[in-house]
Symmetry: C2
Subunit: 228 residues, 2 copies
């Protein structure tokens, strides 16, 4: 059976991506990377979802001591209440230096070691925070790196980067996730590590927009408001 490594943070997008990979017929090797993020509860979300699916799941610990991001450094503020126009205009301090390159290189290593033919990542370049490493041209460049820089690539065994959500809006991601049975209530998207999502950071706002436009209530919000 064909195998795929799936970068899996436990958020809405990466969980939907993981379900897409399964729908495509892949045996999924889920890969979660803890890189020192303050909102480490997403790791726990990933563990629960992977365990409930009964899939193979690697969690790699890799703290980035140089920080340089509001996701890594509690001294830096996570922006709240940014409008969509603001998200499209400037890269926020939640950007983590070269994060997706670290993720993709780790995933490529895992994929090559396990003879997986694809590597799924839940990046999105439509309803997103403006991160440079979520854009199609970046993924194409990394695809080239994998082709040239791996033994598999030089032998013609392509490890393809698959980013099924890349050009979708959040509404359609929510609808696709729903159709695939994604357990939204177990996912975690908020950049802050609170007990309930803050509702104000870019990630919460984009998620809320998706559920609102899809006409589906976000179960996390229901849980939060009922005190769970």
């Amino acid at each position: 059976m064909k195998k795929a490594v799936c970068l899996f943070s436990g958020g809405l997008d990466s969980t939907t991506t993981l379900y897409v990979a399964r729908q495509y017929g892949y045996t999924v090797l889920a890969l979660t990377i803890y890189y020192g993020q303050c909102h480490a509860c997403e790791i726990e979300a990933a563990r629960v979802i992977a365990r409930d699916l009964g899939i193979e799941h690697q969690v790699i610990e890799l703290s980035l001591p140089w920080k340089g991001s509001a996701l890594l450094d509690t001294d830096l503020s996570i922006p709240v209440g940014r409008s969509e126009a603001e998200m499209n205009q400037c890269i926020p301090p939640t950007y983590v230096p070269a994060r997706n390159s670290i993720f993709l290189s780790m995933a490529a290593s895992y994929a090559e070691a396990r003879c997986a033919e694809s590597l799924f990542i839940g990046v999105n370049a439509v309803d997103y925070s403006g991160y440079p490493d979520c854009r199609p041209e970046y993924l194409a460049a990394f695809d080239h790196v994998i082709r040239l820089g791996t033994k598999a690539g030089t032998e013609g065994k392509i490890i393809r980067i698959e980013a099924p959500l890349l050009m979708m809006n959040k509404k359609d991601i929510v609808l696709w996730g729903k159709s695939l049975g994604v357990p939204f209530e177990k996912t975690w998207s908020c950049y802050r590590g609170g007990k309930a999502p803050c509702g104000e950071c870019d990630s919460c706002q984009l998620r809320a927009k998706g559920f609102r436009e899809a006409g589906i209530p976000d179960p996390l919000e229901i849980y939060a408001s009922s005190g769970h």
Copy 2:
């Protein structure tokens, strides 16, 4: 003063590269990545050299649980006695899946977080083991990834990959290192984690070739033969 991140394993090539970066006038941020290699004594070599130079040195622990290389898995044999022709013909089992992509992405992250303008790596595509991620075309592809996938890159602040040894033979590397005062006796190149270099693995053979052709005795061999 201009800063550079230098990937630094404690071997002959990366130590020479670090000395080159200093000669070029950079304040060097040395970065050593422990990725689960059996020959972890190179980490200790790196610590000693960095300490003696009094430079900033980060050691990141990042075990790759999927192994897939003779450097990570003691069940796999490290090839010995390979001829130069064999080294040029096939990629050996000491290849670590996507290792240089992991190294370069970590280094790019560090460089961006610390506003360094260059990133030095001691790869060599002449006297080497045939690893695909040591070739010029691979480095060019990764350069493109850094440009597209970092905030710095999108703002026109180039983080340049510098590989000063890329097209040199081992003899010239040894001679350059000698002229720069590289403490060869503190470096570690052997793939095996013994007390003295094995003299038989690709890395030992290439090192010996360099010293022999440069007409310089390798101080490590003298130490080994005198029982130090």
